[in-house]
Symmetry: C2
Subunit: 546 residues, 2 copies
Amino acid sequence: MKKTLSLAALCVLATAPALAQEGEIIRDGEYRYLEAQFGEAWAEQDERIDGRLNEIWEANGGKPPNILYILIDDVSFGQMGSRKLNYVTGIDTPNINQLAQDGLSLMRMYTEPSCTPTRTAFLTGRHPIRAGVEEVKVALVGEGLPAEEVTLAEVLKQAGYNTAHVGKWHQGDIEQAYPHNQGFDWAAFPLHQQVQLSLMIREAKDANNMLGYHLSGQSNQFGLDERFRPYGLVTGVEAEAGGMAREVDMEPGEEWTQAKYEEMNERYQRQILEQLDRLAAEDEPFFLQYWPLYPLNFAYPEQAISRNGGFHADKLQLLDSWIGDLLARLDETGEADNTIVMLMADNGLMYHYEGTSGLNQLIYRGGKTQHLEGGVRTDAFIRWPGVLAPDSAVGDIVHVSDLFTTFARIGNAMDYIPRDRIIDGVDQTPLLLEGEGNSRRDYVYVYEGAIMRSVVKQEFKMHLPAPGVPGAAAPVYNILRDPREEHAQIGNALWSGASFQDMVKRHQKMIAKYPHLPLGTGMPYEGIENLRPESELAREVFTSWQ
Amino acid sequence: MKKTLSLAALCVLATAPALAQEGEIIRDGEYRYLEAQFGEAWAEQDERIDGRLNEIWEANGGKPPNILYILIDDVSFGQMGSRKLNYVTGIDTPNINQLAQDGLSLMRMYTEPSCTPTRTAFLTGRHPIRAGVEEVKVALVGEGLPAEEVTLAEVLKQAGYNTAHVGKWHQGDIEQAYPHNQGFDWAAFPLHQQVQLSLMIREAKDANNMLGYHLSGQSNQFGLDERFRPYGLVTGVEAEAGGMAREVDMEPGEEWTQAKYEEMNERYQRQILEQLDRLAAEDEPFFLQYWPLYPLNFAYPEQAISRNGGFHADKLQLLDSWIGDLLARLDETGEADNTIVMLMADNGLMYHYEGTSGLNQLIYRGGKTQHLEGGVRTDAFIRWPGVLAPDSAVGDIVHVSDLFTTFARIGNAMDYIPRDRIIDGVDQTPLLLEGEGNSRRDYVYVYEGAIMRSVVKQEFKMHLPAPGVPGAAAPVYNILRDPREEHAQIGNALWSGASFQDMVKRHQKMIAKYPHLPLGTGMPYEGIENLRPESELAREVFTSWQ
């Protein structure tokens, strides 16, 4: 298997930017504004940081550390990582709690408000809209992450990392967007996501989560178009870099079920363990992604394992035990001391199912799809033995795009970050190595899709006024005093309106200079070697109106 | 000082029930219902518990442990005790966090929804309404905790404890209700509470918290009655058991100010340290109450110390440092190992000031005065070195009245619990000594004043229907899946309506058998030796219509 992968890896290298990039990284306006104030201190600090990183690499035989990045779907801040908060919800997450205890908690991690953009931000270090990415829909779209974007996997690969991806991907259904074409040596992933795989199925309808959308729910006597519902969509595929993808575990004509969804999740859990074993045995450092589909799931189990018992909550507790197994396996490989393990959620809960899913807004208001703190604040824990103090925490602002730049620096791969486009991701290595107060950002722009909806600066957050509405009417919240963003006071807006306006201008001027790139487009399902007849048909129907 | 106190103590003993009580403690119906199911197992367990308590007393020279009980005003669940949640609010509570780390967290402590009833429940082990107590108002009322109620201080005193109270009392302005007439050897306390002392003052109006209620805020050109505002109210007093109270730090004609309020708080902090020193030097075990007035306060400090800076939040952080000083002093006395330290809040935040106070609802919805979880769920931490494991937690339901019975048992004072009235407080010693799952209650009746508004059983909570509204319309919430009580589902009510109805019936039948006692009444301000002329006048005016 090793040989095949190496060949495939060579193919990818041949198509990726092969040379170190020259010049400075291009930054957004707000960063430059801070840099003008703190640039000298940062430069001094960077020398220390470089020294420390060199020591770390030296101690590891000249190699940067492995990175295992676990991204969980749709879980609100506070739902995992704290034994005491586990009592509030009746969901036990002992393994994630232990991970938090063993490392650093990023107490103010901002994501994008939904799955696709958060993942794009992590992969590219850029606001997703710069790559044309707003939100990838569940069904056929013929769209996805453009080949022109340079992912963290591509960056780390050029610095000598082996890479693999297991689980949810959600970056589109076109060939250029597939993970094995975006820097991963090997990948197992579903072409679409959980709506197709766990919501549009009979069991979710039976659990009262789809109001009869499944065809078993009504006679459909006066309906015409059966393909208004999911039809012939590709499910899970596997592939090596540069190769064709192959759909697994699905026969022509077969109906997707909850049992198949659960098997898929179990398969990904098996595969992440296999990939870990395989990568740990190599000489090169590894970058391994585990992006589970759970806790999303819309049917009740035969017997709940959590005290909560909600259909998301129960699967979160199951997933926690799987993460325990994964970390135990990492210990067995002997690589735990040289491996950064990071775990976080991609955005807030799917609050629309609150009450029955068992997850809830807990502390921050709002959830998935929303610019409110409940949509974009998630738990985030990093374990890095010998470097990050156990049970430590920092209150600094971090955005998910910062991980791109930070992991690139830790992976000795800064030279491979592109210099021809804006990189929003701020290097947070100083925060990791020198502690609280060392973040190089005190701001976040919060988008919902293509629309900027909020601007965060320090503890203040402005909800931007709708077009044509006077700025003085824009509510500004103090999120320390008012975490649920419910008590705007006009004085705050009157004072800070101008400051927020300046921030937006700095951002917009840089967009004018470096315009957004277009979303990748193409024929859906190219590069899949065993398309089922119904998938072929779905694709034909999809393109029939063009 | 010691001699005087002993004499005073004798006086109190002469008026309190002098003999051990005979027979079984009278329990509410729901407890009996559980006892019918688990009585045998409980009896067996009680033998073990008695053995263990005897060991603990033996190890302490035959004496039960000291009890230091700190009750903080109006703080929501999650606002203190967790370093990581401190990041959410920007309020640092390192000393309370350490206390939580050093002991047991009661993760499901229920209080009453406001100050007076919670304190009555703690002092008497009874639902406050059984003593006629609903809520004691801020101004003159001529009402209070009846002499006939037997307080925990009286119970522990008879078992040989020395007792003292420092800080908020809020059990009424009549002589029989004063703490030194309710079992405390010594007491320093304000006659009323923070509304008079920190809200109805010029500084709170200037801080925009009273909409000009203070007379400095408008000309009052067409007003008649100046005494509609606070007038001549007694402020802080001090007294020994059986003696007269004496108002301190207030001259005739003097206006109460924020500076005086802050001095009062600082004085109580000094006095709690003095009382601790005094009591620790005695041979007898002590029961010492510290009921701070902070964090309540309605003016901004000259310079905030917390990142949050809200007027409640900042004082909570200050109070935390004072508690650190108190615990350090306890260490210095050498009594820390023999002292149970308990800290909790009396009810949820004053949510009406949310946004500017800096406190917020955080996890549970609602606050002070409300039967919602946000009104009656508070943080509660117990440290008992050598007995309670550090950093432990239990998810069992506990009600504040349980502390009466539990401290009585730990204090070897069960014989002095009255046997002629219902005692709601459940003995939670098994929970403390044998851990999670050993609570003897899985229910709570939640009153707002005289009206039962909710019934809690396990993770379910029914909001009772208004009179005349059909039971099927009563919303039932699953508070693990829905901590904010926002997503009632009719199925829950249809199923559990009957079960909740049975619970209410069991409670009501016991009330019919043991009717509520009347609230204590009398002439306000009796027993104060230095009433100011304006206080005399206020009392005359108060009674002039009678």
